[in-house]
Amino acid sequence: MGEKLLMKGNEVIAEAALRAGCRHYFGYPITPQTEIAHYMARRMPQVGGVFMQAESEVAAINMVYGAAAAGKRVMTSSSSPGISLKQEGISYAVGARLPAVVVNIMRAGPGLGGIQPAQGDYFQAVKGGGHGDYKLITLAPSSVQELYEMTVEAFNLADKYRGVVMILGDGMLGQMMEVVQFRDEEPISEPAKPWAATGTGMKREHNTITSIHLDPSVLEHWNDERQNQYRVIEEMEQRFELYNTDGADVILVAYGSVARIARNVIKAAEREGIRLGLLRPITLWPFPTHAFEHVMPQAKAFLVLEMSAGQMLEDVRLTVEGRRPVFFHGRMGGMIPTVKDIMREVHEIIGTREE
């Protein structure tokens, strides 16, 4: 067993990236995730890696593009406004089939918004975010331990599918401290990258890293390949957690920090003899449709909880397809949903059923 440490979420992301073999990080300061850059600034020189604070998030994502083009494991992190700035670069990296990890520690929006935690970037993360048809595998950790495990997993997935993987956290997860149990050995699977731009050494044809194909038939074929790959990912890479869902009166659907609040709601409901369950998406894309199919037979109703106006809500409705009622409770602006408010929703849902 590796070390067991009490650490801040943001720093765990950085440490996990180093353990995953990432030796290149390009960032830019923005609350509430800047500790990731601080940590990288301290640690990268110690492990012979590169930390660079870019002149903007736009420059940072393009430096990531360069390092990935050179075949390196590379990461950047930011928070909502900064992630908006990186969308073009992310679309280019996807278009050039470059593996990279992008971390979004969400804050309230839109605009400069606030610095309190929120989940208002769900659509941006899972529906593609930038221009063109593409999806990012999007992982939603719900604890500091998961920040560690999922960051390592993100690098493996990025290389496995040669694409950009997003870690979608929020300010609460980034700023909180929890105990982390590190592994001695990390499950790193980094394939060879013969496609990378490393210099021909005059021994091979030159490699070109590009995302442009003026011939529409060529570009459509490229997109077809991506869509086929996405079908595979949607089948193979769904991750979720089901907790207490058998026979539950209402199944709460929540991810990230809000899933932690949902657990408290479940305990509060138990004290009142109400059985609630939790369906927790861990991959937001691919959306965990398998979880819904699994619980559907005895599910009675779903209550989606988000720190937004209801974005994952739409994917839940698309998946449930009207087979069960889907309710929603959300807070915005950086306000955190409370157990009390959610319990009032639960009573309304259960109340309406008994009339």
């Binding site: 390009f26 736009v58 990531v64 593009y65 360069g66 590379v74 490393t198 590009t210 442009i212």
Partner: protein, 248 residues
């Protein structure tokens, strides 16, 4: 008889898509000749811009990476920091470098990033058919300055070499021209020095090449060369603006 001039190895043997008489073809050949003569094609990675030369990743025999508009210096930074012993160059037009990419070029220069920038200044946006660029001269007519550029509405043309020369990071900055044989040979000397200094890890090097755009200038190739001599050079004087080997 010996061959005294031919296509350099670092330039692939395929047709270039550029318009007749466009000096992009010359600057591409010069870069390739320098890569051949310094024997560095195998360790070089070039960064293509967005603009007429967006696909010059097909034209060079070294590994190439295409960058988003204006972001080539950042992409080059990512590559160079990943492969410190490689040779990295960006090839950028004036729209790419002096408009959308000014932040990236200024900070790459200020960092003294150990890359070489081949900056093609033809005072116009070529690929998108003749729009005003930050380097468009006062009174020059373009598709977005149809009445001629005027400082009040459109601001003044930016002298990139002079601007970057005020920074501490650059090791070598020279502005050259491609409008005649003598100047093309001088351009090649400047380019050779820029790549040499990069290999000696001296820091940021940039060569600005005054170039033509016959199609969008509405001139034939020979007239275009004359325009560079008579109208462009007066506003963009040729010369060395930074030379780490001179400062001793």
């Amino acid at each position: 008889m010996a061959v005294v001039a031919q296509r350099p190895h670092a330039l692939r043997d395929i047709p270039l898509h550029y318009c007749p008489g466009c000096t992009h073809g010359i600057s591409h050949r010069l870069v390739a000749e320098v890569l051949d003569e310094l024997g560095i094609e195998g360790e070089t990675i070039g960064i293509s811009p967005v603009g007429c030369s967006y696909n010059n990743y097909d034209y060079f025999n070294c590994d190439m990476v295409q960058a988003a508009h204006g972001r080539a210096p950042a992409v080059a930074t990512g590559v160079k920091r990943s492969l410190p012993d490689s040779v990295v160059f960006t090839y950028q037009g004036d729209g790419d470098l002096a408009a959308i990419g000014t932040a990236e070029i200024v900070h790459a220069a200020a960092r003294g990033e150990n890359i070489t920038v081949v900056f093609i200044n033809n005072t116009i946006y070529g690929m998108t058919s003749g729009q005003m660029a930050p380097t468009t001269l006062i009174s020059q007519v373009t598709t977005t300055s149809p009445y001629g550029r005027n400082a009040k509405d459109h601001g003044n043309p930016i002298r990139i070499c002079e601007m970057l020369a005020t920074l501490q990071g650059p090791a070598y900055i020279e502005r050259v021209s491609l409008h005649d044989i003598k100047h093309i040979r001088q351009a090649k000397k400047a380019l050779t020095k820029a790549f040499r200094l990069q290999r000696e890890k001296r820091g940021f090097t940039l060569v600005e090449m005054l170039s033509t755009c016959p199609t969008n200038w509405g001139l034939d190739p020979v007239e275009s060369m004359n325009r560079v001599k008579n109208e462009v050079i007066p506003y963009y004087p040729l010369g060395v603006f930074v030379d780490c080997e001179k400062e001793g």
